[in-house]
Symmetry: C2
Subunit: 298 residues, 2 copies
């Protein structure tokens, strides 16, 4: 196992136990609890919480319970968004990561409510965290901004509106900056907030995460184009069929690969520009490799 | 006009302009904005924000911008819950307050997302409010707790689960304590938090609001039984048809009326027990009258 893999294997259970502990102690209804936990434990890669932790470590600090709680809240927001996106009224997906989606197992009503509860719970978890009140507020505000009508939700609306309509590269990038980019930016910037970085550093972290977010989406589109249903554990070529805008459709495969490479290079360069005392981006650089196409679907 | 009506007419626009201002400045997409504003302006009675303001005034304080913002956030949470509850996957209501429901006008996908955006926006609005950070956190935590998997969302799940199943009075009351009671309790208790009341007073406010919340639901059930579709602006006798548990079905009309009266008497008695210096519950007592059956559908 690589250093990153060992670290992940050690750290992720701490994030997951925060999520599970929260749901167990904050949910009045057994079926609702089951539905929430089903999607939390449906086998995601936990890219977002790992970015929180890797950023905190890059600034020479050790992750604390509060770090795990912020990472947990972020993963709850991400999970809610997947549950709602998969609904028949939205993307109508039956499978995600090789498992039946929430509404297939629990019905549409409970899936909507499990999503609502995970979103609400994420804010409750942050509000309960033992951090200085002003830092907690800053994180809460940033999380809401990233997830809301100027962030992820707006991205999802753009996505729906752009079906059967051709977007330019710039428009597609703007869509993904909101739809997937906003939470990835929160992941990295929250690591900076948790370690008390100044505005200038937070702004660089935001730039870094912006490139990472775009790379994430370009890679996802490329893998979707390349992989088969079995390998991905979800329907593929579906984006094509639904007339969705993807980077390979827009740019062709080769230019999409180059665009991915360019985003990752820019991300690396920003990390290099942050090389002051105590800054050790080893884990972040390792994580960038996860966004390379050659790593395949892991 | 009564004193309450004059006060309402003066104060409600201040809450509404906070909501509208927030949505206008925090929403990236025009159609999403339109969908959110449609449901916000669909003609609700604004009971919850009025309770926040009336409680603040009862403690001898004047409502400030921060009060209006907390009241606005609460109404946003309430509105999100109505949009999601009306969805075909949930209660499948085409009409609310005499107007087409959100998903009828904007489609299911945008209705789900407008709800998500209003919920997320409510937390963003509280986080942005210029209050002391610890008070803001207390309100945020309380709002999330009231709205989430131990509060309103759990109540909605119980409601779905109890269809075609007979509940006892205690079970029905427990359901409504979560489904509608939780936000009404937040309304009153947040007024106490905003005016720096101690734990003992907050606990009494919580009791007061608990009785008010039950009265609210019993009255709603009674009106549904009595009124016609035209008068109510939504389908009635529908609860009956769907095999839903209501107080009139469970207790009969007369006992349900007595139960409503008993809840309001207990609410009044708690207000009397709070009669220390500077406490002036005039507006709250006027608001209790809104929960009486004789006031009809206003």
């Amino acid at each position: 196992m690589s250093g990153l893999q060992i670290w992940q294997k050690n750290e992720l259970p701490k994030v997951e136990s925060q999520i599970e502990g929260f749901i167990h102690t904050h949910t009045a209804n057994e079926q609702l609890k089951e539905s929430m936990l089903y999607s939390i434990n449906a086998g995601g890669k936990r890219i977002r919480p790992l970015l929180v932790l890797a950023t905190v470590e890059a600034f020479g600090q050790t992750a604390t319970q509060q770090t795990y709680q912020i990472a947990a809240a972020l993963e709850m927001v991400h999970t809610y968004s997947l549950i709602h996106d998969d609904l028949p009224a939205m993307d109508n997906d039956d499978l995600r990561r090789g498992k039946a989606t929430n509404h297939i197992v629990f019905g549409d009503a409970l899936a909507i409510l499990a999503g609502d509860a995970l979103l609400t719970g994420a804010f409750e978890l942050v509000a309960e965290t033992e951090l200085a009140a002003d830092k907690k507020n800053q994180l809460l505000q940033l999380l809401a901004k990233s997830a809301g009508a100027n962030g992820m939700v707006a991205g999802q609306v753009y996505d729906i509106q752009s079906e059967q309509k051709s977007l330019t590269f710039t428009e597609l990038a703007a869509l993904h900056q909101k739809k997937t980019g906003a939470l990835i930016r929160f992941a990295v910037v929250s690591g900076g907030v948790l370690t008390d970085q100044d505005e200038q550093v937070l702004s660089k972290l935001d730039d870094f995460a912006t490139h990472l977010g775009l790379a994430f989406q370009i890679r996802d589109d490329l893998l979707d184009e390349l992989a088969t249903t079995e390998q991905m554990g979800k329907k593929t070529k579906k984006d094509d069929a639904a007339g969705k805008n993807t980077y390979p459709v827009l740019l062709g495969m080769e230019k999409a690969k180059s665009a991915l490479c360019a985003e990752l290079t820019q991300a690396r360069n920003i990390l290099k520009s942050l090389s002051f005392n105590d800054f050790n981006p080893t884990l972040l650089l390792e994580m960038i490799k996860l966004f390379e196409l050659e790593r395949g679907n892991q």
